[in-house]
Structure formats: structure tokens, C-alpha cells
């Protein structure tokens, strides 16, 4: 089983095998020996990567892995072979349909697009007020608005579907 990890633009494909109690991670033609220790009840994971200490606190939610490491926070996506295959099929079926969802609970203060609009990457679609701040929610990629689910004034829960694009 291979694992494809992505953070932003960067991606790496790893395969893993246990050898003498250590994890051998292979990425392309590089190989490293990882000594793994789980701390407490999932408090943290300690890796010794070729002796180098990597103190990881991670939050795994399916393919989404948030990694806290040396003061930085990385939002990674990790797919295994099976998932990649499934995604390819799903992608083909949905024909590139995309969604804008509320990143947090709040109140919609403005809807800045209409159905049929062509939008650019980074263009603000919805303005959501939460925690006394107005937060623009933007298109992740260029596309066409196919459906708008909410209107200004609506209170929405975290994760609520707001706009569909293709």
C-alpha cells in the first residue's frame, strides 16, 4: 500500500514496511528508518527519523491530517492507493462539481455572485460574519456558479453547503 501525502503544492508518495521493529519509509529512491512511539492515549507520536527527533501532534480525520510540528501547523491530505482509485472514479462521475461550504458557523452578510456567473480563483463569493468579524469566502479555483443555497441574513452551521460551482 502506498500513501500519497500532500501539503499545498508539495506531494510525496511513501510506502512503509516494518523491519526489526522500525518503520522503513521509502519515497522514490530514498529510504529512511523511522522509530515510532505512540505517546499516552494518542497524545502525540514521537518519530526518530534516522535519529532525528520529530515530535508530532496530529489530528486525523479520514484523509485529512493536521500536523503540528515545531510551532507550525500543516494541513495535509493523505490518500492510500484504494482511496486514490475511488477518487478518480468519483471525480469522473461528478464531472468536476465543486462546493463552497461554511468554514465556521456564522451569519451570511452578503452573497456576491449569482447563478451562472463565471468566477476567478480567489474571488469572494460569500461574506460570512462570525466572531464579530466579516470573513470573505472565496472560490478555490475558477469556475461557474451553478447553485446558491443561502441568502444574506441566513445563519449557517459549520460545514453548511453555501454555493455549488462547476
Amino acid at each position: 500500500m502506498k500513501y500519497l501525502a500532500r501539503i499545498g503544492e508539495d506531494e510525496r508518495e511513501y510506502s512503509f514496511a516494518w523491519r526489526d521493529g522500525k518503520l522503513i519509509a521509502t519515497c522514490g529512491d530514498r529510504e529512511c528508518v523511522v522509530d515510532v512511539a505512540r505517546i499516552g492515549d494518542g497524545e502525540a507520536i514521537s518519530l526518530l527519523v534516522d535519529g532525528q527527533s520529530v515530535d508530532v501532534v496530529a489530528d486525523v480525520d479520514g484523509e485529512d491530517v493536521v500536523v503540528l510540528l515545531r510551532g507550525e501547523r500543516y494541513e495535509a491530505k493523505v490518500e492510500n492507493d484504494r482511496e486514490r482509485a475511488a477518487h478518480a472514479v468519483a471525480g469522473a462521475r461528478h464531472g468536476g462539481k465543486r462546493e463552497l461550504r461554511a468554514a465556521m458557523p456564522g451569519v451570511v452578510v452578503a452573497v456576491q455572485v449569482a447563478v451562472g456567473d463565471e468566477v476567478a480563483e480567489g474571488q469572494t463569493l460569500i461574506v460570512l460574519e462570525a466572531m464579530k468579524m466579516q470573513n470573505p469566502l472565496c472560490a478555490e479555483a475558477p469556475g461557474k456558479v451553478t447553485r446558491i443555497i443561502v441568502e444574506a441574513g441566513a445563519a449557517v452551521a459549520a460545514g453548511a453547503l453555501l454555493v455549488e460551482l462547476e
Binding site: A5, Y14, V34, R38, D41, V57, D59, V65, M104, N135
Partner: protein, 495 residues
């Protein structure tokens, strides 16, 4: 004997806990107030007693002067600490406290009022000899506009008299756009604040935000505890503060301190207050006075070895203010906000695993705990991380170290942004201004390679566990290293 019997803390979160800590150390009982959302909050649990005052929305509880006061009377309090925000700069509330025989641990209502009106505050400051940004102290009208702008010197700023928090400000670089900008500013001010007065002042380029901490008692003594540099801010939200400010000479510090004390004296100030200045190129200009304890007060405490809340309580009880000693070393504060480090979106959720930094020179002021639900009702600050070092370089290194130690799971925080600020050349040089955050470089991603590997390993381990792989199934807390080895060997032997 304790100075007060019981203090009601008319606030929530880290500042409520901050006040409770000092009151407890002074042998004074405390009463926490709480909204529905805050029943389980740490201040409620740490106070001597607690009173429920209403719904989760601030207007239903922490902003409701009547409910707060009733709670104070009901619970037998003889003093009230307002913290910051909420009712802390509400003169009518301070008066109501006095009427009900409760000592308001803040300045007299008149001082709050005088400093609350930004136009009036500037007038008082000018009379007290405190330097202002060159400009007109009064509402401008069209006929005088061009001459005034020329006198002040371009670029100039048009500012709504009733505005605040950066709203309704326009910058004009030359005479060309002046009149049009002025008319728009008027219309905007009218619309936004119902008050169309606009004033004009010099636009200070590359300004630093430097503030002076003052403390005054009821005997006419006014002292200051030096400055705080607060230029690392985004949309007027400060993120990193430090003291001393690299730009100040001892002579400048003394002049600014004297100005701040003069202003405090001019309004009959009592208690803790902060006089905010713009600083640029060796000159400083009065901005406004905050008539309460400031979020970033701990940096001052660490360098002066003073407890400012203790001083507030002492002067509130009529004692004379303690004379400030000589400050020592350098202190930096980083605010821990529940917000996404790249989008700055608020991040709601429940705080899970939590690892707090410690060791030499590290202080954490926070009401965070594992299990805390971060709700949309209040501002996103979870706490403040403060460090002290013998000099600025050590303080910076120490803060970086503490930021690398700290782990919060469940919500995203602003900590990575603070770390990037501290790693940046601009901050390290000491020569920065309020534009520093806009110029902040994107994450360098030193450790991205390790993060990718870590993410993949974590995913691999969790799928192994889900799959009930026996090699991993018995890995417990402690001798994981040894156990992994042993279990693995067994498994290999069996093949």
C-alpha cells in the same frame, strides 16, 4: 486585613482568571459572573463564588450593566473589577457602581468620559502639553480645508470624529483629490456614525504604535512603567507586543512617560491607564488613552517585577501607588487567538490535547483547558504567552522556543503567524512599524518535508490500527519502543 472583602469580576476568559489570581494572592474573595456558554469556564471554577447573569450573547450578560451590578450586590461584593472590553470603559456603569456602594476598580467616571470622546481627548491632551499629530483639533469645513492641509503637510488623513477602530479614515496624498475625499468622508461619517464631523491630520508614515503604562492613586501621585511597543497588528488587532521598544532612547522614554503622566493628571486619573502614541522618526504623537487594564500589560509586569492588578486594587482601596523600580531585561507577548494562521478566519471547535510551554522566563495567561468549547459569542483570544529574557535577543529566542513547545489541538491558532514574525528579519532588526504584518513572508516551510512524512506515517499507523493489525494492536503507553520491537520480532519469527 484584606483591602476588600469580595471583588466581583465583571468579565470572562483569561482576564477574569488573571484578576482572580491576584485577588486570591491578596486574600480577597472573588465572585465570577457567567453567561450560559461560560458555566464551565475556569474563572467560574477558580473564583470563591459564581453568579449566573444571562444568555451567551454579550448583550444578555457581560454587557448588561444591571445584571452585573445586581450580581455584585446579591453576592455581597464591595468592589468590582471590569477587566478590559465589555463595561470597562463605560462611565455610566462606573457611576452606577458608586451609587450602589461598590468600588469600581477603574478611573473616575469623568476621566472615562473625557478620554472616551476622541475629539475631547485630543483637546485635553493639547492643553496638557502632550504632542498631537499636526492637524486641526476641530471639525474642518470646506473653505479652510486646502490651507489647513498645506499647513499640516501632505500626506494628510481625514478622520471621522466619531469613528474608531480605523473606520472612516481616508488618506490624501496631494491637493488634487482633497475636496472630493473630504465630501466622501463626511457622507460616510454621517452614514456610519450619524455624525458628519471630520477632522484632518498629518498622515504619519511608517508609524510605530508605542504606549505608556500609567498608574495613579487618589493622593495625586501619577507614575509610569515605561512603554510597550505594539506595532505588530492586523486590522488594529495586536498580535505581538514587547517592551522596551527598540526605537526609544532613555531621553525619549522619559519625555513620553512625562507626557502620559501629565495627561493622566489633567483628567484626575486614578488606577491603571494606557496612553497610546504614534511614534515615527524620533517624534511621538498622542493617539488616545485607554482607561482600563490593557491586554498586553504582562510584558510591563515582567520587566518591572510589578503586579498591575494588585496596584489597581491597592489604589482602588485608597493606598498610595508603589513607586516603579528599575525595569530589567526584555519581555515579549504573543496572543493566542483561535484563528486560522493563513486565512485569519476564526476557528471554532473544542480544544482537545493541549501541551503548554514552561521553563525559564515563560508565563502563560490563559483560561484554556482541555475540553473548552470555543464558541462564536466572544472574541477569539484564548490567552497570551509571555516571555522574559535578559535582553531582546534572548527574549526572541525564548519565545520561539516556547511557541515550538506549545501544542493546541481542536482549533487552529495564530501561533504559527507569531512564530513567522519572530523569525523574520524585520522584527529581529527592531526597526519595524505597523505595516510589518502586511509585509510578512509566507510560511518558509523548513519542516515541510518532515511534515509530509509525519502525515503519511500517522495515516499509515491509524489504518494499521483500524485494520486490527496485530503488530500494532498492543502498543500501549510506555515501552512502545521496546514493545514494537518485540511484537515485530515475534511476528517475523512466526512466518
Amino acid at each position: 486585613m484584606a483591602l476588600f472583602r469580595r471583588i466581583l469580576i465583571a468579565n470572562r476568559g483569561e482576564i477574569a482568571l488573571r484578576v482572580i489570581r491576584t485577588a486570591e494572592e491578596m486574600g480577597i474573595e472573588t465572585v465570577a459572573v457567567f453567561s450560559d456558554a461560560d458555566r464551565g469556564a475556569l474563572p467560574v471554577r477558580r473564583a470563591t463564588a459564581a453568579e449566573h447573569i444571562g444568555g451567551s450573547k454579550p448583550a444578555q450578560s457581560y454587557l448588561d450593566a444591571g445584571r452585573v451590578l445586581d450580581a455584585a450586590v446579591r453576592s455581597g461584593c464591595d468592589a468590582l473589577h471590569p477587566g478590559y472590553g465589555f463595561l470597562s470603559e463605560n462611565a455610566a456603569f462606573a457611576e452606577a457602581c458608586a451609587r450602589r456602594g461598590i468600588t469600581f476598580l477603574g478611573p473616575p467616571p469623568d476621566a472615562i468620559r473625557a478620554m472616551g470622546d476622541k475629539v475631547a481627548a485630543r483637546r485635553i491632551a493639547q492643553q496638557a502639553g502632550v504632542p498631537l499629530v499636526p492637524g486641526l483639533q476641530e471639525d474642518v469645513d470646506e473653505p479652510r480645508l486646502a490651507a489647513a492641509a498645506l499647513q499640516v503637510g501632505y500626506p494628510v488623513m481625514l478622520k471621522a470624529a466619531a469613528g474608531g477602530g480605523g473606520k472612516g479614515i481616508r488618506i490624501v496624498h496631494d491637493e488634487k483629490g482633497l475636496l472630493e475625499a473630504f465630501r466622501m468622508a463626511r457622507a460616510e461619517a454621517k452614514g456610519a456614525f450619524g455624525d458628519d464631523r471630520v477632522y484632518l491630520e498629518k498622515f504619519v508614515t511608517r508609524p510605530r504604535h508605542v504606549e505608556i503604562q500609567v498608574m495613579a492613586d487618589k493622593h495625586g501621585n501619577v507614575v509610569h512603567y515605561g512603554e510597550r511597543e505594539c506595532s505588530v497588528q492586523r486590522r488594529h488587532q495586536k498580535l505581538v507586543e514587547e517592551t522596551p521598544c527598540s526605537a526609544l532612547t532613555p531621553e525619549l522614554r522619559e519625555r513620553m512617560g512625562r507626557s502620559a503622566c501629565d495627561l493622566a493628571r489633567a483628567v484626575g486619573y486614578v488606577g491603571a491607564g494606557t496612553v497610546e502614541f504614534l511614534y515615527s522618526g524620533g517624534e511621538f504623537y498622542f493617539l488616545e488613552m485607554n482607561t482600563r487594564l490593557q491586554v498586553e500589560h504582562p510584558v510591563t509586569e515582567m520587566c518591572y517585577g510589578v503586579d498591575l492588578v494588585r496596584e489597581q486594587i491597592r489604589v482602588g482601596a485608597g493606598l498610595e501607588v508603589t513607586q516603579p523600580g528599575t525595569p530589567r531585561g526584555h519581555a515579549i507577548e504573543v496572543r493566542v487567538n483561535a484563528e486560522h494562521p493563513t486565512t485569519f478566519f476564526p476557528s471554532l471547535g473544542r480544544i482537545g490535547r493541549l501541551r503548554l510551554p514552561g521553563g525559564p522566563g515563560v508565563r502563560l495567561d490563559s483560561a484554556m483547558f482541555r475540553g473548552l468549547e470555543v464558541t462564536p459569542f466572544y472574541d477569539s483570544m484564548l490567552g497570551k504567552l509571555i516571555v522574559h529574557g535578559a535582553d531582546r535577543e534572548q527574549a526572541i529566542a525564548r519565545m520561539q522556543r516556547a511557541l515550538r513547545e506549545m501544542r493546541i489541538v481542536g482549533v487552529a491558532t495564530s501561533l504559527p503567524v507569531a512564530l513567522r514574525v519572530l523569525e523574520g528579519d524585520e522584527f529581529r532588526s527592531g526597526d519595524y512599524d505597523t505595516g510589518i504584518l502586511e509585509r510578512l513572508a509566507p510560511p518558509a516551510g523548513h519542516d515541510r518535508e518532515l511534515a509530509l512524512l509525519a502525515a503519511a506515517v500517522v495515516r499509515f499507523l491509524s489504518s494499521e490500527r483500524v485494520g486490527g493489525d496485530r503488530r500494532q494492536s498492543s502498543v500501549g503507553a510506555v515501552p512502545t519502543w521496546a514493545q514494537l520491537g518485540r511484537v515485530e520480532r515475534l511476528w517475523r519469527d512466526r512466518r
